[in-house]
Symmetry: C2
Subunit: 326 residues, 2 copies
Amino acid sequence: MNILIIGAAGMIGQKLTKRLCSHGKLDGAAITQLTLVDAVAPIAPTCDSIIISTQVRDLCAPSVATSLVSLRPDVIFHLAAIVSGEAELDMRKGYQINLDGTRYLLEAIRDEHELDGYCPKLIFTSSIAVYGAPFDNTISDDFHLTPLTSYGTQKAMCELLLADYNRRGIVHGIGLRLPTICVRPGKPNAAASGFFSGIVREPINGQSAVLPVVDTVRHWFASPRTAIDFLEHATTLNPDQIGPRCNMNLPGLCASVAEQIESLRNVIGGDAVARIHREPDDQIASIVAGWPEQFDATRAIALGFRAEQSFDDIIKVYLEDDWQKR
Amino acid sequence: MNILIIGAAGMIGQKLTKRLCSHGKLDGAAITQLTLVDAVAPIAPTCDSIIISTQVRDLCAPSVATSLVSLRPDVIFHLAAIVSGEAELDMRKGYQINLDGTRYLLEAIRDEHELDGYCPKLIFTSSIAVYGAPFDNTISDDFHLTPLTSYGTQKAMCELLLADYNRRGIVHGIGLRLPTICVRPGKPNAAASGFFSGIVREPINGQSAVLPVVDTVRHWFASPRTAIDFLEHATTLNPDQIGPRCNMNLPGLCASVAEQIESLRNVIGGDAVARIHREPDDQIASIVAGWPEQFDATRAIALGFRAEQSFDDIIKVYLEDDWQKR
């Protein structure tokens, strides 16, 4: 099996690469070839059984997608995007990378499809940012797409494109609306959502963390490990199972900040909790108030997707997968 | 007031042009300048009070939108699109005209906006094709966008773009999901939906008409006159009334084919009804089965949009506006 990962240098891309190299197979077939692509140099792990190549490429030029698809990957993971904050600040760049990049990829697949029926599996990482407030308490798959950011708009437009190409049989596509990934490894960042990981990660690492919102705030989480499980599992689904509505909410854990803190106390201890400093920030609080809290992922669960059941488990995944490896 | 109509040569574009020339004003202001643009030559009515110019232009070239927006219209009606059947047959052309054309227009507006805050009203004609079966019995504004045609996909993508540009304050946009326009004047066409108009129009004109579906089929209608009312009324709404969810279902009349036929009997007579020949067509029946029947347009009604209350009225509009003028 020949696999292409676009956006391979990001946190999810790196973890997916490691997982694929560790398993050596995907959807029951041995992986023979793995191409890692990103705008910055992806790191290729050593792996005897798989031919791994890396490319530093920018998907904004249509010829790049043509060249990548000419490798005839059986499965394409399309993870590349600029993040919400950057897409909001630089409108042109956001549409170029997050919309045009995906469109060029689909068009390149169509060109190959028209030659001989080539039809790869395409796993696209979408986002819960396709939804915008006001929300129902629980957001179901059939809630309308009313993003309130350019990033969410671009993801929603890509979902529509993917569904049209999927319906036409050009690609076996699936769009996964990932929960907020928590605990993100690495350093704190400036994202408004950063504190959800920070209030866990920093105290575990003996550092102080700022909590800018009240602890009744709820959000929708899955661990990085679960995100990789989602990507792997998506490749095992056949088109009949997915049908024309190929974009879906994934399961996650709805937890309040108070529940996050209680889990930190349970798993690590009171000393860690004491490193969290409450510094209310109205701007962050108002951004977070526009975010969804909980989803009905009945359909994805019926398709076999699984997420954590408690925030304790999410912290344990961080300890096992990322903390020890610092 | 300076007005631009893109897609001015189509049925709706022509009727809108006539209405604007007849009223001489829009949203309370005198119309001074009217620019009619289409890929085929628009017909400019004579009108003493308005400077009317016509342009034969193809919106697929980005420079065309730049040139049109440099005229600094206060209101832009963007009606241009290739129809569902053509967009399905020619995927590339559909995305070029129905998606890229709209995007170039919005980007051209953004370029002018960045110069000095220019922010026109943009009335965009969307379609109930943004929805795809399976449906709820009645489709509300918050039903998800799952189009089952490339045309519907393109309209849904444009709605998302419009909402993002609207949210950013670059344009005062509103997307109107028009009901099926009935009775369409003119000759029968090959569209699967053509019979909804044909079984009324042809018998009125003394010709026979084919009914390819059972008469329990229901659909969602508004007259051409009502469609023009919608477009005019949309220009009177201010941004605060519209808010970030700027795309909406419009009111219409839910009528069965049997009710259409009864109205034909009421308004015209039994001789006209006798000209309808039932010739079941499984292919058309299956296409029509994937179409929505009824919408909840509570929001648009609250905003002052109004449609016909009976199919008798829809037939009378045809008699008044189109039939006598043959």
